[in-house]
Amino acid sequence: MSATAQSVDSPAAVGARGLSRLRHLDLIGLVITVATLALAVVWAFPLYWGLVTTFKPEYEIVRPGVQLWPEHFTFENYIHVLLRTKIGLWYLNSLITSGAVTVIVVVMAAAAGYAISQLEFHGRRFFWWMILASFMVPIPSLTVNHFILMSQFHWINSLPGVIAPQLIAPVTVIIYKQFFDSVPRDFREAAVIDGASELQLLFRIYLPMNWGITTAVAIITFIGAWNLFLWPFVAVNTEDKMNITVGITQVHDAFGVSYGRDLATAMLAALPVAIVYLIFQRRVTQAIMLSAGIKG
């Protein structure tokens, strides 16, 4: 419809057309909502299926056909995993290795990012290109190299051996570097005039100003380390040094694999990560809102 035609319409006609446009929009919105909902169900179904399976007795699980709810509800799988496996130790190992990886990666990446972003030194550009280049190397392709290196350190089948190769985190350095680049120079100069050292600048100005980034980086690193399977599986060969992800492979009996128990272990393994994410998700949002609110 042309602008001229619109200009001669009565207000009532304009109102009616506006309403019909609204209905049209509503219809598109409805279709999108239904499609999103359908996709969400498709995404969530395996999770639901896995969770429900843990509450079924094994004979129900192996029975043909789709059974959306257990006929005989049981905690037997969880009881077995919690009481007859070394899951407590696996949890502890996961917690120690993931926690150590998170702390070391965050501190190291923040320091490296700060140095490359803020300090003047010979080879700065070279280091930056090295970090960018290492970003291109897929870490699993280094598994054999890492194994040889760790065995030379006599770190195979030990927690340091699980931790060390996970400390290569070029992406984290890149994130910090880019973020520190965006901090206005006046903050640095004001602190330099106030007598702050480089360490004080990093830990009292740059990091606290970017808690949102640190929180996000820490969560991502922690979840990545907690969920990692390949390297801990290669690096460890006794049950008492295993992470929870590797521990799942040990949950079997004389009759072979038990799906219910395996899935119960997987659910227990995923639980802390889900809790950590749920707790810190709010902090991430808060931190981003805070840093956005500061400007102005």
Partner: protein, 370 residues
């Protein structure tokens, strides 16, 4: 360490730059510049964007490496001394308040990094907050403060260090016009109370004129003139200073100058009338010569008045309340005339203009005052 020279009045300058140069690659920002700032003075570095005034301040602060030359503070060569050890404090244009700290933590930051006892930090912070009337806001974060309050916190952060020299880098530029006037007064009061050496960078001549007792006008990395506000206003050393100082700006037009005697030159104005102008400088007169006259030194008269220097027609009338600005088309081009607030004038009106001969300035081909 070499001994710094004494200034004109025999006292040693508090801050002194000696033949300093600053180059960024092939670009020279500051060229062979020397400057002495007296103890307790308020010195403004004034100039247009890109003239090197902020670079000069940052060199004094130690934030820029001096390519050549020396910087002295309190007779000590600080050219290679880190900023924190120069006993200076700086207030930035952006305030640079740490957003994650409260006002209290911001003010106490320098004491905290120096490892001062908590009691000292608290006492000094309270004292500064009292002086700057920031006590009610000590537990707020910068985001919760108004522009003026943030500015005061930035000053407080400088004040708490008890510096020998305060450096201000366009501190009022981010404030609205009303707040700027208010903060200007507060800065003047602060200087009167503390009597500390203050060096203030600005591109706003009103700020420089009202606050400073000495203004350094910079042009393309060199000093154009140093003097008191009235010296710069009444006796500009060159056309650049004459044009930069004063609002509205000075009128300029080309003139012919007859041989001078007794320090007075006979000037032939565009349109054929003549005037006499006092010669201030010692430069030899060489054509082309320009005459400069401030808008308030031109006055409206009857077009047929024999004393008028020009005849012309009013093009635009601007009423400011306390003054009236007239844009008058004359044989010398369009001239700005400043009259009283209730001056009777309307566009298109034919007028004559007289100029106050004792207040005209002559500038030679190089721009230097004659």
């Amino acid at each position: 360490m070499s001994a710094p020279p004494k200034n004109g009045n025999g006292a040693e300058p508090h801050v002194e730059l000696k033949r300093v140069t600053k180059r960024y690659g092939a670009v020279t920002a500051i060229s062979d510049l020397s400057l002495a700032v007296d103890k307790g003075s308020f010195t403004a570095l004034l100039g247009p964007s890109g003239c090197g005034k902020s670079t000069l301040l940052r060199m004094i602060a130690g934030l820029e490496v001096i390519t050549a030359g020396q910087c002295f503070i309190d007779s000590i060569d600080v050219t290679d001394v880190p900023p924190a050890q120069r006993r200076i404090a700086m207030v930035f244009q952006s305030y640079a308040l740490y957003p994650h700290m409260t006002v209290r933590q911001n003010i106490a930051f320098s004491l905290s990094v120096a490892g001062a006892p908590r009691k000292t930090q608290e006492d000094r912070t309270r004292e500064v907050a009292r002086i700057l009337q920031l006590e009610p806001y000590l537990d707020r974060r910068p985001a919760e403060l108004s522009g003026g309050q943030r500015q005061r916190v930035a000053i407080g952060r400088a004040l708490v260090r008890k510096p020998e020299v305060f450096l201000f880098d366009e501190p009022l530029s981010n404030l609205d016009a009303k707040l700027r006037v208010q903060m200007r007064l507060e800065l003047a009061k602060l200087h009167a109370d503390l009597v500390t050496t203050m060096i203030y960078v600005t591109h706003d001549q009103t700020e420089a004129m009202t606050l400073a007792d000495k203004i350094v006008v910079l042009d393309k990395g060199t000093i154009s003139q140093v003097g008191s506000p009235l010296e710069l206003y009444n006796r500009p050393a060159n056309k650049f200073v004459a044009a930069f100082i004063g609002s509205p700006s000075m009128n300029f037009f080309g003139v012919d100058v007859a041989p001078a005697d007794d320090g007075v030159a006979n000037v032939v104005l565009p349109g054929g009338r003549t005037a006499r102008a006092r010669l201030r400088g010692k430069s030899a007169i060489a054509a082309p010569v320009e005459l400069g006259v401030r808008p308030e030194h031109l006055a409206l008269v009857d077009p047929n008045d024999p004393a008028s220097a020009f005849r012309g027609a009013i093009r635009i009338v601007e009423r400011l309340g306390n003054a009236t600005l007239l844009y008058v088309d004359t044989p010398a081009g369009q001239l700005i005339v400043q009259g009283e607030g209730n001056l009777e004038a309307k566009p298109g009106q034919g007028v004559g203009l007289t100029l106050s001969e004792s207040d005209v300035h002559l500038f030679g081909a190089s721009g230097a005052s004659l």
